[in-house]
Each structure stands twice: as structure tokens, then as C-alpha cells.
Symmetry: C2
Subunit: 123 residues, 2 copies
DNA sequence: CTGGATCCCTGGGGATACTG
DNA sequence: CAGTATCCCCAGGGATCCAG
């Protein structure tokens, strides 16, 4: 491992990878960020906030997040139906780092795009 | 937007999504985390550290990261060949939030798995 | 309004073999 | 050692229609 063979990163990164699986999904990330801001968002709200997501995929995403204990689902037996989602306590702890990543993306979007153009132009 | 209609999250999340595209890739995340720790890692080192990645995918991932100005590639014309990768300054700024996400994943992996089992058991 | 059910298709990414 | 080149597969996810 070159000159830094002392760190047992192998195992660490591997375990990271396991639960990073949920985070590698852009929809999951966006949903968590959205839910972390507003509290108690409805399905329709999320569809609007997370632009470009289809109902099917949003449903699946929410179910997976619920399954992983990150999101709570409250369904009210009304007509018309109303379903509200919110982050669990665990989900809230995820929101912070996720949000920072989102902030990074916003802050450096231009730089990335510029670098990309420069790279492409060089070919 | 329920009761919190004042935040213009729509645009914010959307722009986030654009450059979050690179981050939604689990391989990208793992590579950035790995490169942020060791300085100047070789291709083979990365293959080892990021377990499970194929040579092809690692190559593509590194190329994309280089394209986005996050990674620098140094190839030495030797026999046998030696190629060293390192984070750019921009890449370093990404490493911090990425690392936090990785830390979150490590810290809460068990909780997530437990929640998942509980959820599945309930069906 | 909130989703479940279907169909379908693209591309991420794995396996394998080869080259400079 | 560090890739390239192919082949190939399947799951993520879009579109559409239906239902409680």
C-alpha cells in the first residue's frame, strides 16, 4: 500500500460500502435532504420537491428508507388519503452529513462543470 | 407544500441533484475516501482498498473523477509502469463531507441492519 | 390523493482475455 | 503493473394504466 500500509482501511471501507449502498442512490439522498428541512411532508410534496422522480421510484425509495429505519410513514384513513413522511431519529443523524454533501455540490457545481469542459476541450 | 411553503427548496435540490450525480456512485465515494486518507495511491492500491471493484470500473471511475477536477493522475514512464493518483484541492474539499458520510455509515450500520431485519420480520 | 401493477429499455458494471 | 477491449446481463428506473 505504498508508504501508508499501516491503516486498516480495507475493512473500514468495506463495511462503509455496505451501508453506503443506500446512500449511493441519488433519490435516497434527495429525499433525506428534503425531509430534513420540512417536517412532515406529504407524498405529493416530495414528488414536487424531488424533481424528476416518478411516483413508482419515490414509493420504492420511501419504503426502503422506512425499512432501514430512517423514515416514518403516517397514513391517515381519510378521503382523500393523506400520508405524511418524516425522518426518524436515526434519519435525522443522517441528515446532517447528507446536507453537507448537498451543500458541497451546490457550492462547487460550477467548478466541477468548468473542469469538465476544460477536460473535454483538451481532447 | 404543507405548512412550510416558504423555502425555495425546489431549485436548490434540483441544482444539488446535478452535481450530486457524481456522488451517487458508490465507487466514486469510496475512491475519494480512500484517496483522502493515503496520499498518492497507486492503481493497484486502490483496487485493493476499494474491495470488489473491477479494473474496468475503477479505471472509469478515476477518469470521471479526473474529468471533474477532483483527482490528479501522474503516470511515470517506467517498466513496470507506475501510476499514482491523488486528490486535487477541490477533491480535498469533497473528502471531508464524504468522509463524514462514510463515518455515519460505519457508526450506524448495525442500527440500519437491525431496523431492516425488524421490518422484514414484521411482514 | 396515494400508491400498486406492468411493461420495457437503457447503461452500470461484472467476467474474461489481451497489450504496452 | 496498468490499463483496454468485448461481451453480456440484469436491476434501476421511466411511462402508463389501474385501484382503494
Amino acid at each position: 500500500m505504498s508508504q501508508n500500509s499501516e491503516w486498516s482501511a480495507s475493512a473500514a471501507i468495506w463495511s462503509t460500502r455496505t451501508s453506503l449502498a443506500r446512500l449511493d442512490n441519488k433519490w435516497s439522498a434527495l429525499v433525506v435532504i428534503a425531509l430534513g428541512r420540512g417536517s412532515g411532508l406529504r407524498f405529493g410534496d416530495l414528488r414536487t420537491l424531488v424533481e424528476g422522480v416518478s411516483a413508482k421510484v419515490l414509493t420504492e425509495t420511501l419504503r426502503d428508507l422506512e425499512r432501514d429505519g430512517l423514515v416514518l410513514r403516517h397514513a391517515y384513513a381519510e378521503v382523500p388519503p393523506r400520508v405524511v413522511y418524516e425522518l426518524t431519529e436515526l434519519g435525522c443523524t443522517l441528515h446532517a452529513p447528507m446536507r453537507e454533501l448537498g451543500d458541497w455540490a451546490e457550492r462547487h457545481a460550477e467548478e466541477v462543470l468548468a473542469a469538465r469542459e476544460a477536460f473535454d476541450a483538451a481532447r
